[in-house]
Homo-oligomer: 585 residues x 2
């Protein structure tokens, strides 16, 4: 059977930076050529980055993206990659759609260009637009209706884009077209526990298509999304022929033996389902025989390491892609800010991490000593600004009490962080966790202040697990565990009044997180949550808290999504609503 | 020709409050019966309110809405409205759609129930789902494929829902079905200058359908949307047979003479385009002849009054529907907070409006005196809390300078407002205008603090126009103009350092607003903006400001949308992006 050396370029594109993304393609193509690759596939929307949301409909960006793709094809040839076939995602335009209501303005498409010999030899637009969860593609793109089959070295290669893989059709079309290889560029965000689903799906589609399937994904952070790579090559029997690492850029090279293409019938009008099959012959002759490389199949990360890495990458890219180098945040000595500090040190290096301790009259000794201990262990910078004199100045004028007085302390701290941020150019982090965010257990314009919230999608029980995991991982490597053990074991407290504990305001975290998992993550109604065995009073209490906290959540900074359903674009609820489920069912 | 007395119930539904919305339907039906009405039509999604966003996919809400519709039909009969035909929008479920990827979970539909004699005699799901601008309906709903023709008093009445009206098809289907009347329930938000488009569209569709068209819309505020009513009845020749007022609830009653239905062919399988035509006969005999009422056609409001009313209604409903009665905000003596104060007094009454003046060392005399003057004129409460002692307490610890020192003052003020809000239960308003929001000319966690931002969609030049209009309207009614004239004429300043004026940081507002209109409102690329005659350096400066302010805008409170494109759900741009348009074209 003919051979083909395939490469999957798992890269970190930057949204909107056409020039830098094109440079990245050239760099990877050169490496591919140096490694003897015949076909290299880049992720979805490689040239523009992904997702670009409503930028897709901007005429000037469409024009620029199309020009950048044309230029890139020429440049690849000029730089010695003319023989390589490169499949590169970009923003294209459907020519056959006139402006009308319901069609996205300027008819943008989520497309892939097949580049060879200095030209774009084929283009394909995504068939199935991703329009649930965090996807809004029907708003932004016109769907394509053509599946390309490109013959390379005598092997027929079919193309599908991301969401196409999740739907019935494209793999069957690949089979109908007798393709030996189906390549699938993706922009598929990370979700905890999603990995096996992905491999299983790839294997199923490969079996349906009776072909080898090659899945290539982005890596890196983009606002709330983190792309984890995990590019995969799998054959029709389900054998993994190659699998990349996660979260880091990589050129995964896989050698394939594939059935030779049956001669195409020129001019034949082939269709399958709603798709027109378009054939392009780049090279009909098999490549010269060569010695295949050994198979590369990376191990999946264990669950906690994987989540940790997603949080680290999400924070790192948000900070860097927004032009910052360093971060600043309040270090209360509690587990949340302690975990954020450990993530920040891993993401940016201790020299770029600035903690601020703002003790009040109600701060415990261990709060201050635990923050200092973490600074000592990790090397991050810790500054201390007591809030008492400022608190007194406010109270001289305002005479607040109760919750207003508690919130005042949190807000004084936030003003201090923002002042230091403005003065020194650090990006401020909010340290709240998902359980707090869900229930509104935070002070708006207080601890909720910041440009990014690294653990906003991490429930409190997982916060503790990750802290333990990170310390254990350090111990296993013979390093100092970054997280003072006392922060993991002590009882959670906001320390805004004497003797205050989270348990005064919230159910125990293990119960709370279990109800939140049912109500938010799995979107069950109250009756179904109760049917799982939870106390109805508890369920009512939690649901009421969640429903009332919508406004606070809107004002919270973005943070990396690691769960199936975070409190971002994948859960859109009106701020103003009075839907209250009957708790009796 | 047979007669029919039609009523359009232009009401203010509350999202999620099924019980209150059902009560509203009963009240309006009783009034309709008392006025001799044969058919009453309620707006889109009447029972659930609109839009409900992802709540649409919650199984428990679907179930509750369906049950509420069944109950309502029975209750209407029980309360003496059994002979009346009522068309009521609700959340229904498509039974024939199985769970699969790409179909909204639980297959919700945006539907209308036709109620008569204690039963739901017909149901119809929206055909064309609104999926651009602020609409996300393809995410939330399954589309319908049936058009109902209901015979009432021997007249065939066809039904289309909101977005259906904007697309080709439904009016042609009404014509094909020989319907004499096409009724269209809507949830169509206000936009300045949209009105004539709406009437023009209704008239065009009536002509296409060769029928009378009746358009009924919601009124009231829902988060960022304001529904303006403006319900219309127009005939095929374009004559307006009835038109309601704007923004306020109303039962618009219109008497019609319409062609008698041609006898239906029982069992005929009628289709038009992709739509199945479903016929239901409620009553084939014409109603007894009666004396028609005179035509009611309200005048449209003039532009400034219309925008003003949208802002007043948007604020009033946001405050009340979120369970608040009163508002609090910083009164700087500048035109923005002055305008907000006047809107708040109109929306909530002076007794519910609390201004706070927070003078600093840099505050001018007129800032303090103008705020006091407005309080005197309108009767709102004004409190004064100087910030100097608090500022000194912060600076003792932080020693900030430059922009950090300026922002500190704005943030101290915000902490004071939030403290007073927490203590006294007022909802805090942010007073920024659209020009500031566009360019990021505000302090995050400072003047940007609040739960609602009444003028966030009003450009600065329009702020001045509205202020002048409001004073003139007062003068015409012989009332005291609420806005001190000095606030309209003085040079804008943030007063965060000595001698500071907005013009130090921003282009002149007339130029700025003109460029923003081109770049944001009309979404032109930079080359096209420059082609309109603006200085390229100015365009580059404005575009750079806009692109860099995305994060600040995300953290800004919601506010009523009055323009075609606000900075809310209708303009979705990634926070992290590096798309910079080439200014040379």
């Amino acid at each position: 059977m003919p051979q083909m050396r395939l490469a999957l370029a798992q890269v970190n594109a930057t949204v909107g930076d056409l020039a830098a993304n094109a440079d990245l393609v050239v760099d990877y193509c050169k490496e591919a050529v140096s490694r003897g690759v015949h076909l290299v596939v880049f992720p979805e929307m490689m040239l523009t980055g992904y997702p670009i949301e409503d930028l897709a409909m901007r005429a000037s960006l469409i024009k620029a993206s199309r020009a950048a793709a044309e230029d890139l094809a020429v440049r690849l040839k000029d730089e010695g990659c003319g023989e390589l076939v490169a499949m590169v995602g970009f923003l294209d335009q459907a020519h056959d759609v006139t402006e009308k209501i319901g069609i996205p303005k300027n008819a943008p498409t989520n497309s892939v260009a097949v580049m060879h010999g200095g030209e774009i030899v084929a283009r394909q637009a995504k068939h199935h637009l991703w329009n649930y969860g965090v996807g809004d593609e029907i708003r932004n793109f016109v769907a394509g209706d053509t599946i390309n089959v490109v013959q390379i070295g005598g092997i027929d290669v079919a193309l599908a884009i991301c969401e196409d893989l999740w739907r019935d059709g494209p793999s069957a079309a690949a089979k109908a077209a007798d393709a030996a290889l189906l390549v699938v560029p993706n922009g598929s965000p990370y979700e905890a526990d999603k990995d096996d689903v992905r491999l299983e799906l790839c294997a199923r589609r490969a079996a349906e298509g009776e072909c080898v399937l090659a899945y290539v994904n982005l890596v890196g952070g983009q606002d709330e999304l983190v792309f984890d790579g995990d590019s995969i090559v799998v054959d029709a029997a389900g054998a993994v022929l190659g699998r990349s690492g996660q979260f880091e850029p990589e050129l995964l090279v896989v050698d394939l033996d594939l059935p030779a293409a049956t001669p195409a019938m020129p001019g034949a009008d082939e269709r399958f389902g709603g798709l027109a099959i378009k054939r392009t012959i780049v090279s009909a002759e098999p490549f010269e025989a060569y010695e295949p490389l050994p198979t590369v199949t990376n191990e999946r990360m264990p669950r906690h390491e994987e989540i940790w890495t997603a949080l680290v990458v999400g924070l790192r890219d948000y900070v860097h892609k927004n032009g910052f180098q360093s971060v600043l945040f309040g270090m209360s000595g509690g587990i949340d800010s302690t975990l954020v500090a450990a993530i920040a040190v891993d993401a940016l290096g201790a020299e770029n991490v600035f903690g601020v301790s703002n003790p009040s009259a109600w701060s415990s000794e261990h709060s201050k000593s635990d923050a200092a201990e973490q600074a000592r262990r990790t090397g991050l910078s810790l500054d201390t600004v007591p809030i008492a004199p400022i608190f007194d100045a406010y109270q001289e004028a305002l005479h607040l009490d109760g919750l207003a007085e508690e919130n005042l302390q949190a807000r004084i701290r936030a003003v201090i962080w923002m002042g230091l941020s403005n003065q020194h150019g650090h990006l401020v982090l909010a340290c709240g966790n998902k359980s707090e965010l869900a229930t509104g257990y935070s002070t708006i314009y207080g601890d909720a202040v910041g440009a990014f919230a690294p653990i906003k999608d991490v429930p409190k029980t997982l916060v503790w697990e990750l802290a333990k995991w990170r310390n254990q991982a350090a111990a296993e490597r013979g390093e100092t565990p970054p997280i003072p053990e006392g922060t993991i074991t002590k009882q959670p407290s906001a320390e805004l009044r004497p003797g205050q504990y989270d348990s005064d305001s919230l159910p125990p975290y293990d119960l709370l997180d279990a109800v939140l998992d049912a109500y938010v993550e799995r979107d069950l109604g109250s009756a179904d949550v109760i049917a799982e065995g939870f106390d109805p009073a508890l369920v009512e209490r939690v649901i009421t808290l969640v429903d009332r906290a919508e406004y606070k959540r809107r004002q919270y900074p973005p943070g990396p999504k690691v769960s199936r359903r975070n409190f971002g674009r994948d859960r859109r609820v009106p701020i103003t609503h009075r839907w209250r489920e009957k708790l009796d069912g």
